[in-house]
């Protein structure tokens, strides 16, 4: 998919910080302020969700659920002290992980696959069937390959990679978001990079042999 830069909002909104936009939306019900927030963050939030579930329909549902919660719960649960986007990402992350775990349970219970060596949702589910064909076409080859490798990582490592690379989220925030210590978050990142490096090397070796 192509990144679409939007929308014709007044320039003054683009100069405002997230916190100011949130304030405008909450206190003055300024819908344009909310639209500006959405424009700023929609692609990264959606990319994160999509990269985790790798299914456009599911990603759409989770994205919409996330923003429904954001809109309805903002007055009750967001205190304007912390970063708004960290709060939104927490909602998106929780919704995504909930979905993945539900799917995992479903696959476990249904016994659709009995291969015990595969302990990750993505290992059990056929990746190719999960990815929308149109989406697959739109992704370029190397990016698709990269996504495939990332999909093979354990869920915890994949989460850290995505939060860091899509959102440039500091490890301290990743640790808070995923309810682990900062050292655990750093460790997961290290293992994720090591695992990815191995996958790249294996792929390189296979290609060399086939040539």
């Amino acid at each position: 998919m192509v990144l679409k830069k939007t929308k014709n909002l007044p320039a003054r909104y683009q100069d405002l910080k997230d916190q100011e936009l949130v304030h405008l939306y909450r206190k003055k019900e300024d819908q344009l302020a909310f639209q500006e927030l959405l424009n700023r963050h929609q692609t990264k939030i959606y990319s994160y969700i999509f990269s985790m579930v790798r299914n456009e329909e599911v990603a759409n549902d989770i994205f919409q659920d996330t923003f429904t919660k954001v809109i309805t719960k903002m007055d009750e649960t967001y205190d304007e002290q912390g970063k708004w986007i960290a709060w939104v990402m927490r909602i998106a992350h929780n919704a995504t992980i909930d979905h993945i775990r539900k799917q995992k349970r479903f696959v476990d219970v249904s016994g659709a696959t009995d291969d015990d060596s595969k302990d990750d949702f993505y290992d059990r589910l056929e990746d190719e069937s999960a990815i929308d064909q149109q989406t697959q076409l739109e992704m370029d080859e190397s990016a698709s390959e990269l996504m495939k490798y990332i999909a093979e990582l354990p869920e915890e490592q994949r989460t850290v990679i995505m939060l860091r690379h899509y959102y440039e989220m500091p490890f301290k925030e990743i640790a808070e978001l995923t309810n682990v210590s900062i050292n655990t978050a750093l460790g997961r990142m290290r293992y994720a990079l090591i695992n990815l490096r191995k996958m790249f090397e294996e792929n390189h070796t296979t290609q060399t042999k086939s040539v």
Partner: protein, 188 residues
């Protein structure tokens, strides 16, 4: 996970303060294996910058924008609902206060005449039906002792008193305790 492992990630992702960074770089100069690991992981991390960004479909954004507007709308109606509730509460409270004032002003006016009324009723009731003992509560309201009289006797007393007595106007008792016989005040 040892300190070097976590420091290595913090170094690659630029999360060290300048002092920590300098110390870690000194460590790298002394430890060739650590240097190789840093370079390898940096290279892998660099590949992740190619991660594709995916935009949500337009219809989804339109739905969300619409929802954000309806939240604003619901906030608007909520504030109006709140205002309406407050106005209703104010009116109810003032009505009740007015009602109470009427009641007490009535009782104030009644104060002077009440003793005569009660005496008169007592006299007439004792004359006609000696076993019926009317009594007066702290609000100076006259009650007939229903326990000691039959229904026919109550009726006859009621008919006897009716020309000179009227129901207490504007009291809560009128509305909520209609089954009681509450007679006081003079229509003359």
């Amino acid at each position: 996970m040892n300190e070097n492992d976590t420091d290595l990630i913090r170094y690659i992702y630029d999360e060290m303060d300048p002092t920590e960074r300098m110390m870690f770089e000194r460590k790298l100069e002394r430890d060739e294996n650590l240097l190789i690991e840093v370079e390898t992981l940096k290279h892998t991390s660099g590949k992740l910058s190619d991660l594709p960004e995916v935009s949500p479909p337009d219809f989804l954004i339109r739905n969300i924008v619409q929802l954000s507007g309806s939240k604003g709308g619901s906030g608007f109606s909520f504030s109006y609902t709140l205002m309406a509730a407050m106005v209703l509460f104010t009116f109810s409270a003032s009505y009740l206060m007015l009602d109470t004032e009427n009641r007490f002003s009535f009782l104030g006016a009644f104060d002077n005449a009440s003793q005569e009324q009660v005496d008169g009723v007592a006299k007439s009731s004792t004359g006609a039906l000696p076993e019926m003992q009317p009594w007066v509560d702290y609000n100076e309201v006259l009650y007939l002792d229903q326990g000691s009289a039959t229904a026919s006797k109550q009726d006859s007393i009621f008919r006897q008193l009716q020309p000179s007595m009227g129901p207490v106007p504007g009291t809560m008792r009128d509305r909520f305790f209609n089954s009681d016989v509450v007679l006081t005040g003079s229509s003359n």
